[in-house]
């Protein structure tokens, strides 16, 4: 019990995730900067930002609902950290796992978006309200392709547990290339989930200032930003665990290094994607997700079902 609590709090739980999330943010920013031929921030920039924000005053708007307003950042942070416990990172086994944990992870990763929506909606500012609406609209667009993309490997592996899935794919490594469409779909949907260009519509700064976060400041904003950073790491870990599960369970040190490399690779792809696109309009985003992304995810399922029928 004590070991588990230690694991939850320090490693690979809360503390490790926080530090890794900051490093991931730095990597994302420096890569983005290098793609744009800029120098980029120094290594401690995310830490400095976080400390600065935590030291600042929290301002709750007068007409906002203080309870919901203050709860939402913590909820977002809590849910993403909880989600990380079910993802096998450098071992075949996650911290916790049971049959059906994929569904739990996907739903836990939805909670941040819902909390952005509620936080924005209850801060009662014009920009935040519009940002909140966009948050929710966008959720409906990317969630289905993301879920379908993660579902298809599960069908192939015939299990609803992520840990068992990685075991299965480690034994059938040659099946991995067949999931390539799903990988692409999941990556793009992850961009939408993390609200990064071209899907940063809910917080499009030139249109609606900062979207749902317009009224947030100080500690609450710091928690939100931390939640997004951790969400990026957890999302990248999820994609790595589902689509790039090779090398797990060999050796803890090797596995750990591989895990870091995989996450960095996913972050690299995310940064690359966000540096080459313009932000879409919300209705263009819906069009894209339903016209191209969802059918692609369906195609992946069809591929998986056929594979399963023919080969296994």
């Amino acid at each position: 019990m004590a070991v588990q609590i230690l694991e939850i709090i320090i490693f690979p739980g809360f503390l490790f995730l926080t530090v890794f999330a900051m490093i991931a943010e730095y990597l994302d920013r420096i890569l983005y900067a290098r793609f744009q031929n800029r120098k980029g921030p120094p290594w401690f920039q995310p830490f400095a930002d976080f400390i600065k924000l935590v030291a600042k005053e929290d301002i709750v708007p007068e007409c906002a609902n203080p309870f919901v307003f203050k709860l939402m950042p913590i909820l977002a942070l809590a849910s993403v950290i909880t989600a990380s416990f079910y993802i096998p990172m450098w071992d075949n086994k996650a911290l916790f796992s049971f049959e059906g944990d994929i569904i739990v992870i996907v739903y836990l990763l939805t909670i941040p978006t819902i909390s952005f929506f509620l936080g924005g909606w209850y801060s009662r500012s014009l920009y935040a309200t519009i940002g909140a609406m966009r948050n929710l609209t966008q959720l409906f667009a990317y969630e289905v392709p993301l879920f379908l993309a993660i579902l298809s490997p599960a069908i192939l592996a015939h299990t609803w547990s992520l840990s068992e899935m990685t075991v299965f794919f480690n034994n059938h490594l040659w099946l991995l290339p067949f999931n390539i469409i799903g990988f692409a779909v999941a990556l793009i949907a992850l961009l939408g989930k993390l609200e990064k260009v071209p899907f940063d519509i809910p917080e499009a700064e030139t249109e609606i200032v900062a979207g749902s976060f317009t009224e947030y400041s100080g500690r609450l904003l710091a928690f939100f930003r931390m939640a997004i950073d951790i969400e990026m790491v957890v999302g990248a870990s999820l994609v790595a665990a589902v689509f790039l599960p090779f090398g797990l369970g060999l050796n803890p040190v090797l596995g750990f290094i591989l895990y870091i490399l995989k996450v960095v690779f996913v972050i690299f792809l995310l940064a690359l994607l966000r540096s080459v696109f313009a932000r879409l309009r919300i209705e263009q985003m819906m069009d894209f997700c339903w016209k191209y992304l969802a059918p692609a995810a369906f195609l992946q399922i069809v591929v998986c079902v056929i594979l399963k029928g023919v080969l296994l």
């Binding site: 890569l31 120098k39 994607l273 080459v276 696109f277």
Partner: protein, 128 residues
């Protein structure tokens, strides 16, 4: 022909290149030779014609008589718009512009300069 992600190759090419931006306060920026920066007054040349005071668009420069054929200039750097009109108007080159551009100060008073024979650079020997 349209294709998404047209920039990918260009962007990837730039990963290895040296960044175009510099770490400014730590790496000093070089200004071109004829940059219009901080004003410098050469009191030994001034004849006190006051044309610079008259033509200055922002009333940033005042010339005071401090003795027989001796003048001192009061230059308000926070009023100065660095247009170079005074240098233009001065037909004896008693005013020159330097390439010094880092003029920020915490206090307005720090930006007021009084230049006279005592605190100005010694006139170069080749003069007159």
């Amino acid at each position: 022909m349209q294709r998404p992600g047209k920039m990918i190759s260009e962007v990837l090419k730039h990963v290895g290149k040296t960044p175009a931006t510099t770490n400014y306060p730590f790496e000093k920026a070089e200004m071109p030779e004829h940059f219009r920066g901080k004003l410098q007054f050469l009191p030994h040349r001034c004849k006190g014609c006051m044309l610079c005071t008259k033509d200055c668009p922002s009333e940033a420069i005042k010339i005071k008589k401090v003795g027989d054929k001796k003048f001192e200039a009061e230059i308000d750097l926070d009023r100065c718009i660095y247009c170079g009109q005074c240098v233009e108007s001065c037909f004896i080159q008693a005013l020159v512009m330097t390439t010094d551009f880092e003029l920020a100060a915490l206090n307005r008073e720090d930006l007021k300069m009084t230049i006279n024979e005592k605190n100005s650079p010694k006139p170069p020997a080749e003069e007159e």
